[in-house]
Symmetry: C2
């Protein structure tokens, strides 16, 4: 009897009716003859309510106590799902993080899993029970309750799938799978049948938001077959695995974009070995994330440095650079707001050197100005004006053959 | 440095402002040089909200999962109190039941504590930290989360005080201490300086409601000095200990009463060895609590049996007895509703045989009809019409010397 792991996020367990629906899903898996382990998050907005309570008490809550507080959310959900399963006549049992043997570093709010002792969990599976595990949480060697940080429940599910050598790990969410692009903006975006870990990682980092990068990394390292699928509709999802078998002919597998990008340029810095280090240490120390960086020599042997940041950090960034004018020794700092980043992703690029050139050609034909470019082995990103973002994305989506085809539309309709 | 244990109930931690007040109380104890262990309940109505969630899912929630669900309430409180303490500059740490080493039977919703492993707790105390422990909860040998049933947080506090050999265990509540009678009804009721475990037990069982009987029993067995005091006002409370030192001259220490009593009489049962057993097994199997029982022979060698129940159980009780008419072989069943029970309590009664007679005399003078009587070593209870309950109680309160004296009133006012 194969073991499967599945995870339902906060919106999928947002109220007791949704919890009953999750219980039915689990029963379905049991009826199909699987051993089912299910990881759930806290109900809908319940974590926000707990955070509000802490906010009423202090501006600076203790990290250990925040973990103590927030882990109650998932504990509530697991107990309610088990009650709903028993109501359906399914024997089931709930386990908190520590009961499920999820051991983490002695770190609060962003701990990494160091070990999973599956003996209790496997005992319950052998008794034929559905097992519910509280996501997002673990316990340190010293017996302190810890949490895994953002996307923690995804990580819990993937880690359990790895430890139990599960057949697959399904992430149930509010979309039906991974799309070639965000269907809210790119009308012809279509769902992918499969995608590789690396492609998913690039898309996750680029803001696709379906899966947390840490969970994808974990799945890649332990070769866990991930399935992203809808908790609302019973349709096929997207498989994330080492070799995405379908659509291998596609060079580009997905297209991501981010708004609220600002390009900052610091002009005529001294051409010195520690120039870059001094500039970016300044920003890093204040927690400002820098994305693309470009360095360019000037005619008079100075250096111009451009970088992109989230527009929300612009004020702080300018203050820091202005404040360090004497130590950095630059002539001027300029910025361009209202930019965006458009990225194409696909492992096929590795053996296809013309992809970046094709991307620039499409953008040129659309008369979209390219402000910055960055490339990785399986992705090319361009910073372009925000007003052109959707138009550029749709043109690239069509050019790289990602548009939904009529035949596929019919097939998806049949599945639904 | 003496260790003290204190417990704050749900109303004392009902919102974040009250939690901040509790933190100040704890700081006060620390500033006085004590090692302070504090047990807290779930915030105000939070347990009710969790029960509502379970009710939305099932009419028959699994006991293990109810424990999983409800124990989150206390976990929320401990983390918030620690945050509030850190805000006051006090180093503190929260522990769930299992982290505090509270081991119970493998029973859900009403487990008894079997062992307390205090090593983690003592480690934190030795580090000079205030320790917050989630009340009402423990863990079984098999690692399942359990709860201690009604009054569970009181029991947690007393058990920790016993295990830590604490100097005292203060139960902070919404009254200032234990009263000779319920001051909402008996105007001249006054607060007791001290009371013995046995007297407190009788009062607790008789519905005084300040302390749970199980906690008092635990305190008696392990000789833990209990102090009942107000969480709102900083005034002296009532000490519960083996030998109540003050007011030893009083034969009667307290007076309790319960409304909603119904007397049921089953007439002419056969005078057979299993008559009583059959009748009361019938009621016990349906969970109906019977209080006072009187058996009387009839002239024709039958038996009349009267017993008192909570009026809310009357319908069910009559149904059961009517349904078993053939097996019980009685002639008739009658009942008197709108009755009440008035009880006087005091360990001085043991050496004072006239107390019951005095009670009857007072009730006769007040022209109060006595329907049933029961006695224990340190208590006498009488079932009387509900309309006469307060009048009877006030007359007994005065007769047995329990009324507040002018001098005491002045002293209490000075303390406040």
């Amino acid at each position: 009897m194969a073991t499967i792991v599945q995870k339902f996020g906060g919106t999928s367990v947002g109220d007791t009716d949704k919890i009953k629906r999750v219980a039915k899903r689990i029963k379905q898996g049991m009826d199909e003859g699987h051993s089912v382990v299910t990881v759930v998050s806290a109900m809908g907005k319940s974590t926000d309510k707990l955070v509000e309570l802490a906010d009423e008490i202090t501006d600076n809550p203790d990290p250990r106590e925040m973990d103590m507080l927030l882990t109650t959310g998932e504990q509530v959900t697991i107990s309610l799902v088990v009650m709903a399963l028993k109501e359906l006549g399914v024997d089931a049992v709930s386990l908190t993080g520590w009961q499920a043997g999820i051991v983490t570093e002695e770190v609060h709010q962003d701990a990494r899993i160091t070990d999973i002792n599956t003996s209790t969990l496997e005992g319950h599976l052998n008794d034929g029970k559905a097992v519910l595990v509280a996501g997002f949480q673990g316990v340190s060697e010293d017996g302190n309750i810890t949490t895994l940080g953002r996307g923690g429940s995804d990580t819990t599910a993937v880690a359990l799938a790895a430890a139990l050598e599960a057949e697959s790990c399904s992430i149930f969410t509010d979309v039906t799978g991974v799309y070639t692009s965000d269907p809210r903006y790119v009308k012809k975006a279509r769902q992918l049948g499969s995608i590789s870990y690396d492609e998913m990682l690039e898309l996750a980092h680029l803001g696709a938001g379906v899966l947390h990068p840490r969970a994808v990394e974990f799945a890649k390292n332990y070769n866990v077959k991930l399935v992203v699928r809808s908790s609302m509709e019973n349709v096929e999802g997207t498989i994330v695995e080492e070799e995405a078998t379908m659509e291998q002919n596609l060079t580009v597998r997905g297209l991501a974009f981010d708004k609220n990008v600002t390009k900052v340029t610091v002009e005529r810095l001294p051409n010195h070995y520690d120039t870059m280090s001094n500039l970016f240490k300044l920003l890093a120390e204040e927690g400002i994330n820098v994305d693309i960086i470009i360095q360019q020599m000037t005619a008079d042997h100075g250096v111009n440095v451009s970088f992109s940041i989230d527009s929300g950090n612009l004020g702080k960034t300018l203050d820091l650079i202005h404040g360090a004018k004497e130590t950095l020794c630059y002539s001027e700092v300029r910025h361009e707001s209202s930019q965006s980043k458009v990225s194409i992703v696909g492992s096929g690029m590795i053996s296809n050197p013309g992809v970046a050139a094709d991307m620039f050609k499409v953008l040129a034909e659309e008369e979209v100005a390219i402000k910055m470019v960055s490339t990785s082995e399986i992705a090319v990103s361009a910073v372009v004006p925000e007003k052109d973002m959707i138009r550029a994305s749709e043109a690239l989506h069509t050019y790289f053959g990602l548009d939904e085809k009529e035949q596929e539309k019919i097939e998806l309709a049949k599945q639904a």
